[in-house]
């Protein structure tokens, strides 16, 4: 099994990395057309799928970029491509919009929409697998910064007239899972940075006359962190391929495992990195915090780790029952003697 990037994936990722190395951000990415990576080729994009975007997002995470790469570029790009509609101008997306729909008029408050501070249009996945698009000029937009510095906004719709697509079977679930996976891929890049910083710090920082990395307690904490990130990396690649593939059960399984991991082991890994640094790790000035916050934002958006744990548990129960029907059943026993 080989998850190394294809030439095309590497090319996109390298372009992102070069922009960030040169201190660039949204303007430079936009100029090079990189924010259109997930858009159809006919409209100047690369037609990239979720797995194609992973290496680029890892670069975004490593750079902790403030550019709204997921919220106002990749995610709406994937959704619009899938729904087969496209129009000029930057869009943002809410994968789980809770709105009231009266014909083509939408009413509701979307409290946290990443990228809505810079977009012209808002794309919403509706529960019935339709896509709704409204110009943000007809909405009330209250911009703010997320904890990791990226822009977002609260969007208030009061009978806003939307363009609503026909039903695209499976659309909403697929985009929601893609959203989880894209943010997780970016968190993976941030976690690489966290790992490298912590490893380097343990080697150079001395206390009690010796490097921190010579203490076994810290070595073992670092091994746990290393191990968790390797496992998370495997789940990111697995989920990304499942988002692009036709096997829905496997997508649900891998994406929920990923989100559960992100909100569990990865949140703890980020916290452990701060702990291993000591006091410097809790200062605003030190770069570690930027990466930690990026991990936390990915954890908080698009459904909680508990939501996904519960979803995974339901899937396991359904699959087990289906497999069990094919096999002779045990006696159902009360679990109390």
């Amino acid at each position: 099994m080989d998850f190394s990037p294809t030439d095309d994936q590497r090319m996109i990722a390298d372009s992102f990395a070069r922009v960030f190395e040169g201190g660039g951000g949204q303007a430079e990415l936009d100029e090079l057309g990189l924010l259109l990576a997930a858009h159809p080729e006919a409209t100047g994009g690369f037609g990239a799928g979720v797995a194609d975007l992973v290496p680029a997002l890892v670069e975004c995470g490593r750079a902790a970029t403030q550019a709204p790469v997921i919220g106002a570029a990749f995610l709406p790009g994937l959704a619009l491509t899938r729904a087969g509609i496209w129009a000029e101008g930057p869009a943002c997306l809410d994968p789980e919009a809770e709105v009231r729909i009266d014909d083509d008029r939408l009413t509701g408050v979307l409290p946290v929409v990443p990228g809505a501070d810079v977009a012209d249009r808002l794309v919403m996945c509706l529960p019935d697998d339709r896509l709704a698009v409204v110009p943000l000029s007809v909405a009330e937009v209250v911009p703010f910064a997320l904890v990791d510095g990226r822009g977002a906004a609260e969007v208030r719709l009061d009978g806003a007239r939307a363009t609503i697509t026909d039903t695209v079977p499976g659309l909403t679930g697929a985009i929601q899972d893609s959203a989880v996976t894209l943010y997780a891929a970016e968190a993976l890049g941030a976690l690489y940075a966290i790992r490298e910083m912590t490893q380097a710090y343990l080697k150079e920082r001395r206390q009690f006359g010796r490097p921190l990395g010579s203490f076994q307690a810290l070595q073992h904490a670092m091994v746990d962190l290393y191990h968790d990130i390797e496992h998370f990396q495997s789940l990111v690649h697995l989920a990304a391929r499942c988002c692009d593939g036709p096997d829905v059960a496997m997508r649900l399984r891998s994406v929920s495992a990923l989100k559960r991991y992100l909100g569990g082991r990865m949140r703890r890994a980020a916290a452990s990195a701060i702990q291993m640094h000591g006091g410097i790790g809790v200062t605003e000035e030190y770069a570690l915090g930027r990466y930690v916050k990026r991990v936390i934002v990915a954890d908080l958006l698009n459904g909680s780790a508990d939501d996904h744990g519960a979803r995974l548990a339901r899937l396991i129960a359904e699959e087990t029952r289906a497999a069990d029907r094919a096999a002779p059943a045990d006696d159902l026993k009360e679990n109390v003697a």
């Binding site: 490893q199 091994v223 191990h227 499942c242 929920s256 559960r260 109390v336």
Partner: protein, 389 residues
């Protein structure tokens, strides 16, 4: 992981499935699906069936009786066999001393031992640990002194798994007590367990079973042709062997099968009025285990795909063993929880199999994070060799 199977892999999987369907005896698969544990005799029967098919040593080079399968094919075979309820073959001959002899043994040793490992005519055990040399294996004291025509071996080995069934023991002995570093004075000898001076005594473990033994060696004479490789180079061979052992302990295929069995158990137990598998608290524990297993499965495949046959897996094996052993323990832990109070009685003969499921497994699994190198030692190795501390 079928997502990653090529068309050739899918065809191979179908071939393996139809073979298992025909060849795996029903009493053996029935033991597994009846929540029982395979006996040593069932394991040997299955070993011999696989040997007839030529599939018993997928990890060996083809010219020594291996299958020439890719890492993915080995994984497919292993997980299909485990999911079908086959016993896990013991690693001592196939995964431990076999590969060492292939890489470091003499031509005569290869000719003499390898075919009999494949056929299970010889059964092997591992003489490494001693009462004073556990995690600190290089502190071993069993002495071998050259005496004209043979080594004379004196000492004591312990935790020797299935020595009660074994014909041979590959044994680490100290041949140079004055070497600068303790690792430098160690050799590897192949000792027939019917030699005069060998005494095997059972150690009963916490689960009440007889898996392991003490082996006493008193003036045991071992001829020169039973020395592996060169004298005082035994530590090198042992490290190579331990790498293979640790990868085999990580055993994703077995975890996959046991996890599926655990789910079936949970679907057939009740908590209050609902099946245990629908209980939200138990369900969340299962979900976390599933997530960790999935991550381990993909990580193992990702990493082992990069290892060439016969290549020293080094610190990677410590890395894979750490999580693999923990996942197996957690499967047993949830199986014990699922069985609940019915797992508590210590019944020997009269118990229905399902009623003590989990408890013995949980107790037995405590050893998984200890044998083959404790988790703490695995972390030391990863810290030093992968992280550079």
């Amino acid at each position: 992981m079928e997502l990653f199977y090529s068309d050739a892999d899918l065809a191979f999987r179908d071939e393996v499935r139809s073979y298992l369907d025909d060849a795996l005896p029903e009493d053996i698969s029935g033991t597994f699906f009846g929540y029982g544990r395979h006996s040593w005799h069932q394991m040997i029967r299955w070993h011999k069936i696989l040997a007839d098919k030529g599939w018993v040593a997928p990890n060996w080079p083809e010219d020594h009786g291996g299958t020439g399968w890719s890492p993915m094919q080995q994984y497919i075979f292993d997980s299909e066999a485990m999911m079908a309820g086959a016993p896990r073959l013991r690693p001592f001959g196939l995964k431990m001393i076999g590969p060492v002899l292939i890489r470091f043994g003499s031509e005569a040793q290869k000719k003499r031992f390898l075919p009999r490992i494949l056929s299970a005519d010889d059964y092997w055990c591992q003489g490494f640990s001693e009462p004073g040399a556990g995690s600190d294996l290089a502190a071993l004291k069993t002495r071998a002194v050259w005496d004209g025509d043979a080594y004379v071996v004196n000492g004591q080995k312990t935790w020797t798994t299935t020595a009660q069934h074994a014909d041979w023991m590959f044994t680490l002995v100290r041949t140079d007590p004055d070497a600068e570093r303790p690792q430098q004075g160690i050799s590897m000898l192949l000792i027939p367990l019917d030699s005069p001076g060998v005494t095997v005594r059972p150690i009963i473990t916490i689960d009440g079973d007889h898996h392991v033994n003490e082996v006493f060696l008193e003036d045991v004479r071992v001829p020169a042709d039973l020395l592996v490789g060169e004298e005082n180079r035994g530590w090198t061979y042992a490290k190579y062997l331990l790498g293979n052992e640790r990868v085999s302990i990580a055993n994703v295929g077995q975890s996959k099968a046991e996890l599926a069995l655990l789910k079936r158990l949970a679907a057939n137990r009740k908590r209050g009025n609902v099946a245990l598998i629908d209980d939200p608290v138990f369900g969340m524990k299962l979900a976390d285990l599933e997530a960790d297993f999935l991550a381990q499965e993909v990580t193992n495949l990702r990493m082992l795909s990069q290892v060439r046959p016969g290549q020293d897996v080094g610190a990677l094996s410590s890395f894979l063993k750490l999580r693999g052993s923990e996942i197996q323990q957690r499967i047993q832990e949830l199986a014990m929880e699922a069985t609940g109070a019915l797992a508590a009685p210590w019944r020997e003969a009269d118990r229905p199999r399902t009623d003590d499921y989990g408890m013995h497994g949980w107790l037995n699994s405590r050893a998984f994070t200890i044998f083959g190198g404790s988790s703490e030692v695995m972390k030391n190795i990863v810290a030093k060799q992968i992280l550079g501390f």
